[in-house]
Amino acid sequence: MSNKDIKLVQLPSPNFVPERDKDKPLMLEVSHLGIDFGGLTAVNEFNIGISPTEIAGLIGPNGAGKTTVFNLLTKVYEPTRGTILLDGKDTHGMNTIQVNQAGIARTFQNIRLFDKLTVEDNVKIGLHNSIKYHMPTGVFRLPKYWKEEKKAHDKAMELLSIFDMQDMAGYIAGSLPYGAQRRLEIVRALATGPKLLLLDEPAAGMNPSETSELMENIEKIRDEFKIAILLIEHDMNLVMGVCESIAVLNFGEIIAKGTPNDIQNNPKVIEAYLGSGSINGGEKEGTLPDSSDASKPDAEQMSTGHLASPDAMIGGRKEES
């Protein structure tokens, strides 16, 4: 089943964001970002600004270059063109580790936990750079070792408590259920102390109730940690429900930016998702699912919801495989 049927979380006001962060400098400012792989331009003229406590969404059809953007931001790939300013600082010349220390943390589309380590140790890997002792201290277990490890343990537990996962601390990460693994990835990313959290399809493979819980948690994380969040997601309920601004990527270029409302009614976006033919197919069919209409669930809208976001269905099917 697709996640389209359940809409539990209220929409935040789309106009609220710019007001709250109006006088603050942007957390992330990307301009003219692009990368070529050989002759292929994977991402081009990518411009985006994210304010310090904004939840932004990056959507687009499969293969549009969304994950490539994440890889550029985290310097897994070195950009061919453009600049990335993080908190006003140019990340040019930084490597992945330095970017992480500067404040970008991410999760992965296909979960990449350290499967053989325990849940707690996975979080502690995220805390690695905040635990301060050297090798001899660790080998001989000097007092500083105990102090720092205790601190790390407490911090790890505190972070795990965001998702009520303290009880699972001793489990091997690879043995966790799928949804818990996704949540653990978010905790691990948060452990590195980011200013900007990148979530790559956080709801992929989650059931509707897990997704709605995730939506609440994304907002909770933003409120508690006062960080910006940029997420890639195919689940339109989540994107429309939690994101304050959305950028739509198609063939490596941004084709639309705006509030969830703007995006839902943007003809270019509808065309990118459905193909050009459907533009003439009547207004109702050509509208992306609108979670602000959640209160009046009628059968017709649900069916168009399926139609309008084929990727959401693919996302829904993943959990069954």
Binding site: V76, I97, R106, F108, F114, Y145, A189
Partner: protein, 289 residues
């Protein structure tokens, strides 16, 4: 019978310590460091020089050998392997063999091919239980091995650096994105492995007190066998594989044939690999569907 067993465990302990170096480096850098055996030889020569030429006591000369080997390990990794981080594993393997020959020939130039008589580093009386005499060297070797295993296990499971090592061995990319310095972690692994090789070198040369530039080659290959035997990449596997290999070798020598003992060792390896291709404690790679 019992004394054979103790000799076997003692020899196996040395193999185990060497095998740790192979298995840790393989686990983290996914490469076979065939120069590891020659680091043992360098460790032996360092201990030999500091005791015989400089007249240092045992402990400082062991520490000296460890320091030199640790630095040598880091240096080898930096100069020979790091530039090949993204190269094919075959290129890295050939480089490792090259480094191995380089070290052997350097030793040949410096110390010549004449065997050196290694001084006895363990001046303790042998232990006599009933009618069995156990050499103090064997006891010291076994104790050293146990201590190393305990420290190493605690290090890899309980410290942040050990955890970083395990994280890097599982997923370099993800570890890097979590802010872990992968290069430093790999260097550290080489350092630990080479430091252990120095200890193994001293223990080996104390048990078999002739030192030549090729001294490290055969134990190196046997320890590699032990690592594969136990499941390469697994630390407990290296310990188990090393000790079993030592016992098999000594028993083969005692009861079957002195000349065939090496052949027996490798025959056992082949059988184990046929029955359980991942080694005794090796884990099957789970395939995600």
């Amino acid at each position: 019978m019992l004394s054979y067993l103790i000799n076997g465990i003692s020899l196996g302990s040395v193999y185990a310590i060497i095998a740790l170096g192979y298995t840790m480096v393989y686990g983290i850098a996914k490469m076979l460091n065939f120069a590891h055996g020659d680091v043992i030889m360098i460790g032996g020569y360092m201990a030999f020089c500091s005791t015989s030429y400089l007249g240092w006591p045992v402990i400082p000369s062991v520490l000296f050998a460890m320091t030199v080997c640790t630095m040598l390990g880091i240096l080898i990794e930096r100069l020979a392997y790091k530039p090949l981080r993204d190269a094919s594993s075959l290129a890295v393997l050939i480089t490792a063999i090259g480094v191995s020959y380089f070290l052997q020939n350097m030793a040949l130039l410096i110390w010549s091919s004449n065997p050196k008589a290694f001084p006895n580093m363990v001046n303790l009386p042998n232990v006599v239980i009933g009618d069995i005499q156990i050499s103090s060297v064997a006891i010291v070797t076994i104790i050293a091995c146990i201590v190393i295993m305990i420290i190493l296990t605690l290090f890899t499971t309980r410290t942040k650096l050990g955890k970083a090592m395990r994280a890097v061995s599982e997923d370099k990319g993800a570890a890097q994105l979590m802010g872990i310095n992968v290069n430093a972690t790999i260097s550290m692994t080489f350092a630990i492995g080479s430091g252990l090789a120095a200890i193994a070198g001293v223990l080996l040369c104390t048990a078999y007190p002739t030192l030549m530039p090729t001294t490290g080659a055969m134990p190196g290959i046997k320890a590699f066998t032990a690592a594969v035997f136990g499941g390469i990449g697994s630390i407990p596997g290296a310990m188990l594989g090393g000790i079993l290999l030592g016992i098999i070798e000594i028993f083969g020598k005692a009861y079957i044939s002195t000349q065939l003992s090496d052949a027996i060792v490798f025959a056992v390896l082949i059988i184990v690999l046929i029955v359980k291709p991942t080694g005794l404690l090796g884990k099957k790679m789970a395939e995600k569907v």
